[in-house]
Symmetry: C2
Subunit: 555 residues, 2 copies
């Protein structure tokens, strides 16, 4: 059965009932359709009481085999509820780019899904659209400023760094020339589109405390410089109020449910390879206020989502995870050990052993932050007992708790062992995570720290554009910001073909984007781009709808 078929076979609870299970009355939510709703912002006030324990789900380096991190997150939430703990999943919203591209949706799989799957994967409550609109309003205002030649700004056309965004995989928009066709069409200049998941507006929303805080952050977006090198920010164009107005409803976190009827808060969705990769502080705080256990995930491997979750999201908000669950699969480990994608169903202990190096490095990284990892082995039907036993034995030998999760096949019932291990780890946890770099470190040092300690690089190389960007960052007085490295998710290195645990490699920083409003800078490693492309056969070719409105082909 497809994920969509399973999702449709389950009778969902009205969203008011799900809210009541969280202690939120029907009068306090705003429904969007029958099975989703906006939660009120006051739940997430920074000084509100928070009773929950935060569990971060991250993963080994992802492979084309699919590791099922979201599936494990949802299954663990359902399992915690089954063993008598009040737990809520706090997740990111899907982007339409991957839904119609290669990767598919982001609502879990099998018996461990959030629902309604098609509603969430398509437009949901419109948050991504609001981010797109607010982002592009600033772009239109900036180009209008150039066109109207407003002497008050004197914006230097060649200095403009603000691009546009769309929630689609569209490589042809990466690098464009706008303003062609003569005087009435504005001034010609080079620009481009990123995917909405990479928007600084999205990042600012994920890291703010309130509407007022968001407006302040948006006002601080760096747009470019005047002819005499004075920096101009969004607030200088008097547009941050209108942008915030556009985002009023999008800033409220969304409530949905798992297939087992447990609450799931799903809010915003920066990617972890090109952005900070985790849902909003507002959503996480709402979960911590309303529940005893909050299970949240950060995108891709722990080197990307996990590092940013801690250094960016937790550092700016004061949030702190009690434990980190690392999802791994026998198939993924064999792939990291060099097995071919087509051969992953065949037992191959040698490849498994080689590939375990990858998980081992991630486990070391978790411990580097002073946190305790629990390994969740997401079981696939082709996995043999020998392989599963070997992985668990290796974890035990490293002093790491592990459990096999069968959430895909059995939902929460398949993840009860994992839930018990996680509860035990939470109860054992004593310390607070520790950052690896200080905010006062120079940007280069911050990059070198993450590159060497987390990625395992031997050194970092800065290309000339990156060096120029670093000088600009220094001139703007932004060196105290944390970093959000954009890097391929497929390898610890910036080369997507280097699997396992690469050593003795140089991380190349091509350029450094400035996200002064969101509150970080974005060193871009290797040839990563912030607007994906479609594959030869996009998922959109499989997606269809019948006359009654039943959608097929979503995954």
């Amino acid at each position: 059965m497809s994920d969509l078929t399973i999702a449709r076979s389950v009778k969902l609870s009205p969203i008011v009932d799900v809210a009541e299970r969280l202690g939120v009355s029907p009068d306090e939510i705003e429904p969007y359709g029958r099975y989703a709703a906006k939660l009120p912002l006051w739940l997430s006030a920074p000084d509100a009481p928070r009773r929950g324990k935060l569990i971060l789900v991250s993963a080994m380096t992802p492979t084309p085999a699919g590791e099922g991190k979201t599936t494990a997150t949802i299954g663990l939430t359902d399992a915690l509820n089954r063993i008598g703990r009040r737990a809520v999943a706090v997740l990111r919203e899907p982007s339409l780019g991957p839904v119609f591209g290669l990767k598919g949706g982001a609502t879990g799989g099998g018996r461990a899904q959030v629902a309604p799957m098609d509603f969430i994967n398509l437009h949901f409550t419109g948050d991504f659209a609001a981010v797109t609109a607010a982002h592009n309003l600033l772009a239109a205002v900036v180009d209008n400023d150039l066109h109207q030649r407003k002497s008050t700004h004197g914006l230097d056309l060649t200095s403009v760094r603000w691009k546009r965004v769309l929630d689609v995989n569209d490589r042809a928009l990466r690098q464009i020339v706008v303003g062609l066709g003569g005087r009435t069409n504005g001034l010609p200049r080079e620009s481009g589109f990123d995917i909405t998941a990479a928007s600084e507006v999205m990042a600012a929303m994920c890291l703010c405390d309130s509407l007022a805080h968001l407006k302040e952050k948006l006002g601080g977006i760096f747009v470019g410089r005047t002819q005499d090198k004075r920096p101009l920010y969004a607030r200088d164009f008097n547009v941050h109020g209108a942008m915030t107005a556009l985002l009023r409803d999008a800033l409220k976190p969304n409530l949905a449910q798992t297939l087992e009827g447990n609450p799931a808060i799903i809010h915003l969705g920066p990617f972890a390879n090109i952005a900070q990769g985790t849902n909003s502080v507002i959503a996480t705080r709402a979960g911590l206020r309303l529940s005893d256990y909050v299970v949240t995930e950060a995108g891709f491997g722990f080197d990307l989502g996990g590092e940013k979750f801690l250094h960016i999201k937790c550092r700016t908000s004061g949030l702190a995870p009690a434990v980190v669950v690392l999802v791994a699969t026998v198939r993924g480990l064999k792939y990291q050990g060099g097995a071919a994608l087509e051969a992953l169903h065949e037992p191959d202990l040698a490849a498994l052993e080689r590939g375990f190096d990858n998980l081992e490095k991630h486990l070391e990284n978790v411990r580097r932050f002073g946190l305790e990892p629990v390994v969740a082995i997401n079981r696939f039907t082709s996995d043999t007992s020998a392989e599963l036993d070997w992985v668990q034995a290796r974890c035990t030998a490293m002093g790491t708790a592990s459990a096999i999760s069968e959430a895909w096949a059995y939902g929460g019932a398949g993840a009860e062992t994992l839930a018990h291990e996680v509860v035990a780890a939470v109860e054992r946890a004593t310390g607070h995570w520790q950052p690896l770099y200080a905010l006062t470190d120079p940007i280069e040092r911050k990059i070198e720290t993450v590159a060497t300690h987390i990625y395992g690089a031997s050194d970092v190389r800065f290309l000339s554009k990156a060096r120029a960007d670093l000088r600009l960052i220094a001139e703007l007085g932004l060196t105290q910001l944390p970093i959000c490295i954009a890097k391929t998710q497929k390898s610890f290195s910036d080369d997507p073909t280097r699997l396992g645990r690469p050593r003795d490699f140089t991380l190349t920083i091509r350029e450094v984007e400035i996200a002064a409003g969101a509150g970080f800078v974005i060193p871009i490693a290797g040839d990563l781009v912030r607007m994906p492309g479609l594959p030869a056969v996009p998922a959109s070719e499989r997606i269809d709808i019948d006359a009654e409105g039943n959608i097929t082909g979503l995954s």
Copy 2:
């Protein structure tokens, strides 16, 4: 008091109560927030019973003074309900372009508004975002096809006519070059963005009967041609199913309410200068099924919205208005008669008399279609009794019913006289409207018919691009389609500075766009562009939000 202040001072009914007033049970609607909801599609089945009378509200040629067509439409709906008739307003959704540009929102004004005003003017239920996503998915798939060099299609890069859309006023996007930066970024080619209100996807949604019909229409979108001149349509790229899936919820009409608690169905929003200018057939049918009187509007003057409402929307759907209300103002007539914008508050019977020519031509045009006009004079505080009496006397002399509407100041109570006149006209109405051109006429002839009979042009000139487009239309076998002329709204002619009733002018057709999926072709007159720009001081500079989420500056 601002429109927003008035709107906030009214206590709205829960949307389930508004639905029940229309005879729709709470189980049948999908709420979006507390005060808006999606109505089910089955209400709009083409063969469903329809009991309502259709009243089309159009207007004289618009001026910068603002004529208040939407205000009159909402006031008339409230007034009909006050005099004991069951009436529903069926309107278009606002576009973010004008909201943040110059014109402002589209929810009426004063005491005659639909609500919640800020929710409707900003994202509402996400329909425009869905149109944007579906439109741009096709664009991404087409550019991906070029990039992947799919031999099955052999698409000729220079023949691609499908552009992209965004719901923003952004002149810099009108004409762009995409695909720059080398092989991995696709193939470089000229392209551009239109505003979402001009999207063929929007047009197709407005003219379809059902999801299946929409999918068929989207499949028929003309994309370009192969190297050997074979036409390629969206269905050849296997993307129309995914596009329709994206539009599943957006195709359902939205329910909101007037400030007096009467139902308003608000759905989709093509502009009337660059598209067909009227809400969806699906929304209008829902209104006609659920109510006795359906008051609907078509954009800008009757020469644009009115003509297209009849020749495109009514002809393809079988809908037929009983009467046409033409909104005029003393200020607007004086402006058409040459009075300066700053002097419109001063009595000026000479300018009024000259400007009445404009209204007279619109009245003649309504009668040309075999329909009876009723003039609604939207009263402003500076209007004198002498001016108002003069306009009414001229209408009477032409055998045309008229009434003064004070809906802005008094809501429905201010439009009761108008409501009585409209009911009387509906009861007098006997005939069916008649089209001015046959679908079998050549495209040139159709354009000439509308240009000479409706606009009052002496002749039509086709530039060379337009002639080439007409040859392509003939080759594609699309000559039987109706036309949707893109023309300035500010004049009957294609020159926005020619006010009143211009005579002896040539209408210049620059090019003819093909909207084979929507089911019409778009002759573009003069230098009209389908992506607006922002003014020197955009409305976005006035729009703001406070810490509690109260938005200010929307109008």
